[in-house]
Symmetry: C2
Subunit: 249 residues, 2 copies
DNA sequence: GAAAAATTTAATGTCCGACATTATAGTTTA
DNA sequence: TAAACTATAATGTCGGACATTAAATTTTTC
């Protein structure tokens, strides 16, 4: 019986870069140590972290402390944990990272407030994307908007495609903080929105505008891109208002 | 020996509003339950939460789970814990609140990125402030800018006054999320900035523009206010660049 | 021999108990 | 009255035990 020795991704290979913590370290120090390790090992989204027990042993602390730290990250959406499947990165952890939130139950009234914060960030991201994007990013954006149009005209659920399109814009803007912030804000928004309203397709009417937006971005017409995003956001806001009123919120 | 019966703040009186959690609840559910209790009891910043053991008993869960949840809040800066002094609220917990957590060590390179995210938020907040602010907020803004000018011309440290002025703008915009976001972003920025550069007075040259900004806001000239904020942010960015280059970062 | 079913296994999820640490509250002493 | 001491009640930490579950492995079945 020959051993197949697939290094099975990241189990033993990863994680010998953790050094014992001095006594009295806080759970935040644990997270600092972990993010150092993540950067050192080059772990990406989806990669697996060492088991809690191993982290604890390497850091010279108890498993409870590791769990408190990891649960913090879990509540911030940075990792997902899944029993035997282990703990995996759900967001990029690196030096240039601001880790956003965790939303307490927001009320329907704050939907518009959340959207109002998102608006200027989306506009600026689009403007920067138009100014900064590389050729390969141009191709990606074009592909994504084509996908969106195709999925939508086929009558299928286009939200995933929409999300991917906007994500490509955020990436193209050259500043990962925009994408992170907007993603978190949108998650907060969806969480509040879905509770009373279910999951209707929001922004249906804006689909045609996405083609113009993509064209403006790949052509480098920053102001036009910004204007279109503003219009899209306004239309979504109007839609939210309409739905809220129709349900007497 | 007569009993003095001071209800000693919030020990027994608070916390019978927690109902047992269904099995399989996550640590996030614990936080939801706690924020519900906090809102119900009207707890404010500085108030004390029930002891972990009592929270655990009332929710019908183990203390470890409560600790994981509270440590999440601690890492987000929502509570502070201090041994016998107990766990106290460090930030307002209510509906309509997005709690930003927790910044990983940022590197100097990301100073500009952080600033780039702050920029559109500040601009939009100023625009909204010009459109929405009430009479009393107009007075406050005028007072704050006068204070800023006075402190600055006296040669004193004007950063606190500057902070208060901008905070009055954020408040006047009518959407608390702007103020929260910007504050957190600025804290992240300062944390990074101060490490290599100390605490030089950043934005000195923009002081005179603050008067124009305040005038535009109280007069309701939204676009002018937005433009001025943009210029201020650009000047700060230029200053940061200059300092970084002068130190070969 | 390949697919399906059953078993094993390795991780997280949960609780409990014990003890250390410490800031406050209470008590004694000077 | 003030200072020093003691008691106490909370958090901080660890270890152990066990449940739960999804992946990996083995066995069975066709």
């Amino acid at each position: 019986m020959e051993t197949r020795t697939p290094p099975q991704e990241t189990a033993e290979s990863v994680g010998n870069s953790l050094k014992p913590l001095p006594p009295g370290s806080s759970s935040r120090d644990v997270l600092d140590a972990l993010s150092g390790m993540i950067e050192l090992e080059g772990l990406k989204v989806g990669d697996r972290l060492p088991p809690e027990i191993e982290i604890a042993n390497q850091l010279g602390i108890g498993r409870a402390k590791v769990r408190e730290a990891l649960t913090s990250w879990q509540n911030m959406g940075i990792v997902v944990r899944n029993k035997k499947a282990g703990t995996r990165l759900a967001a990029e952890v690196s030096a240039n990272t601001i880790h956003l939130p965790f939303t307490l139950k927001l009320e329907a009234e704050s939907l518009l407030r959340t959207h109002a914060v998102r608006r200027p960030l989306e506009i600026e991201a689009a403007r920067l994307a138009a100014l900064n994007c590389s050729d390969s990013q141009r191709l990606l954006i074009s592909a994504r908007v084509a996908e969106l149009i195709a999925v939508h005209s086929a009558g299928e659920d286009w939200r995933q495609a929409d999300y991917r399109f906007h994500a490509s814009l955020h990436e193209a803007c050259g500043n990962p903080l925009f994408g992170q912030l907007i993603r978190q804000i949108q998650e907060a928004f969806n969480e509040v929105y879905e509770a009373p309203f279910g999951q209707p397709h929001l922004g249906q009417a804006t689909i045609p505008m996405h083609t113009q937006l993509a064209e403006a971005v790949v052509a480098g017409r920053a102001e036009e891109a910004a204007r279109i995003v503003g219009e899209i956001m306004d239309m979504v806001e109007a839609e939210v208002l309409e739905i809220m009123e129709s349900q007497n919120v």
